[in-house]
């Protein structure tokens, strides 16, 4: 047919890749917006090369004072690390325990709607604020020291683990729950016989991951006086003991790395 012949002759001679954002106005508009934002924000923040360069010379200065790292005060270091580890373990332990009821209540396929909404609200609220803010509040109520730190980490751990647990339970295939209910099993038996075996591997995996994260976070809460190696670290910075700071930082990095290795090993065994 003539229409077809015409189409064959008029084959497109140009071609462009499909962009992520189709409309060219949007695309270029966003780029222009981004550049404008860059200029605006950098200007507002009063960032200029002068500050950067003085900063870099100071960084150089600091670096030379940091190296070599000073391990002579290792007793203080070890004490701080041990305290951080204890905080991390205790927080993970209690966090795991508390996360079970909260996570179960946060699963819409298990509990009535009002209970579900309350549980989800608690989880969202505890995750909104950075743990340093929560740490400050606990320090105000319980005073300086590791207690405030443990409590902060417990709040962080519980909300994290319970969120994962609730999502895991909601994603469970409903047929299995139905079948166990059909045998006449009560709710507690449903928990241990169906929900627990299915949710357990992921629950344990998330908890182990959280243990590693708690070691990291225990450094932060120390800055506001909630115990752990963070407190020691903050002190070294304020006293300009940069070589000791480097020593502490190196140990923290090594510890977190080992924690990750351990965590991966356990999680692969759980599969």
């Amino acid at each position: 047919m003539t229409a077809q012949n015409q189409n064959e002759d008029a084959a497109p001679r140009q071609w462009q890749t499909i962009k992520l954002i189709e409309n060219p106005y949007w695309r270029y508009g966003l780029v222009i917006l981004a550049i404008a934002y860059l200029f605006y924000s950098v200007g507002t923040l009063d960032i200029n090369w002068h500050r950067m360069s003085t900063g870099l010379t100071r960084a150089n200065n600091m670096f030379s004072r940091m190296v070599p790292p000073d391990f002579t005060r290792w007793e203080l270091l070890v004490k701080g690390i041990l305290e951080s580890l204890q905080m991390a373990f205790a927080a993970s332990f209690f966090g795991m325990i508390l996360a079970v009821p909260l996570g179960l209540c946060g699963a819409s396929n298990l509990v009535p709607r009002p209970v579900y909404l309350v549980a989800r609200a608690i989880i969202v609220l505890s995750r909104t604020f950075h743990e340093i803010i929560i740490a400050i509040f606990f320090v105000k109520i319980f005073g300086f020291g590791p207690l405030a730190g443990v409590l902060t980490l417990v709040v962080a751990s519980t909300s994290f683990i319970s969120k994962m647990l609730a999502e895991d339970i909601e994603n469970m295939p409903p047929g299995q729950l139905e079948a166990v209910r059909a045998t006449g099993a009560s709710f507690p038996k449903l928990l241990i016989y169906c929900i627990s075996p299915q949710a357990l591997p992921r629950y344990l995996g998330v908890s182990i991951y959280r243990l590693d994260a708690n070691i990291r976070h225990s450094t932060v809460v120390g800055i506001v006086g909630a115990g752990g190696i963070g407190q020691v670290l903050a002190a070294t910075f304020s006293r300009y003991d940069y070589d000791f700071s480097l020593a502490i930082l190196m140990i923290i990095v090594a510890l977190v790395f080992l924690g990750e290795v351990f965590s991966n090993w356990v999680r692969s065994g759980l599969r």
Binding site: L45, I47, G55, L82, G145, P146, L147, F237, V253
Partner: protein
């Protein structure tokens, strides 16, 4: 069938775990309990504080209500500064994290030494908290948002780098092979073969990390690295609880908005 044969074929006892497995499980349980006990006991917790904790908490709550609305005017600049810190920090991260991710991925790195260096950079970045990086950069650049931006950047490199490196390691090698077979240069292979496969992950993690960085930026001020944290810290130390509750509410609102944006964009990408 005799009674013995019956008992043998259809035993009346069944156990889920054999004795060895049961023993291993109990060893794990005991060690967990032991570690938990050790950690709690050594912490020197003043248990007596729990007695009046609820009283103290109620006291604090009443002092924080109602939020001091007159204070709102002083909040605009610090909040905007906070958002700037998070955004600029994330932007800087992309520039640095991307090449580091290539070094840290087994299939795109040059040799095992560079792979190790890449991995080391990522682990170091992840192990140190944003606030601790903030401490460091305040010492270098002095107090202010400049330190905050670098703190955000240095922490985010580890996060983004790890996820992007994992994405690079999981790409379809067949596509890369095909491009190499056409005689393309190494850079072209990178651009056409590898990059398109990794782009969605890069976009996704960038926006995800930006959202997290907004939260982190709010507290950087505690160590002097700019943002609303400076004001928040001073109000807390002055016991101006109503100002504090106002700031916390505004932080909550900003975090909500950023989470919403982040979820919407990630939805659109996938």
């Amino acid at each position: 069938m005799t009674l013995e044969e019956h008992a043998q074929k259809y035993p009346e006892v069944w156990q889920r775990f054999n004795p060895r497995q049961t023993l291993i499980r109990y060893v794990w349980y005991l060690s967990i309990v032991a570690v938990a006990t050790w950690s709690v006991s050594n912490l020197d917790i003043p248990w007596i504080y729990f007695l009046d904790a609820h009283v103290q908490a109620m006291d604090l709550a009443t002092r924080m209500w109602p939020p001091d609305l007159d204070f709102v005017d002083k909040l605009y600049d610090p909040l905007i500064e906070t958002i700037h810190i998070a955004t600029l920090g994330t932007l800087v991260t992309i520039l640095i994290a991307f090449p580091v991710a290539f070094l840290a991925a087994r299939n795109t790195t040059f040799n095992s030494t560079t792979w190790f260096i890449g991995r080391l950079i990522l682990v170091t970045s992840r192990s140190v908290n944003t606030v601790v990086w903030g401490l460091l950069f305040v010492a270098i650049f002095g107090p202010g948002p400049l330190a905050g931006i670098w703190a955000i950047a240095f922490r985010s490199i580890g996060f983004m780098g790890k996820l992007v490196a994992e994405a690079i390691e999981e790409i379809d090698l067949g596509a890369v092979e095909a491009i190499e077979a056409t005689g393309a240069s190494r850079l072209q292979v990178l651009w056409i073969g590898i990059l398109p496969q990794v782009m969605p992950v890069i976009y996704g993690t960038t926006i995800y990390r930006w959202d997290i960085n907004i939260r982190e930026s709010t507290v950087l001020g505690f160590v002097g690295a700019g943002g609303i944290g400076i004001q928040l810290y001073s109000s807390i130390n002055l016991f101006a609880w109503q100002e504090v509750s106002l700031m916390l509410t505004s932080v909550f609102a900003v975090v909500l908005v950023s989470e919403f944006i982040s979820a919407a964009v990630r939805q659109r990408i996938s």
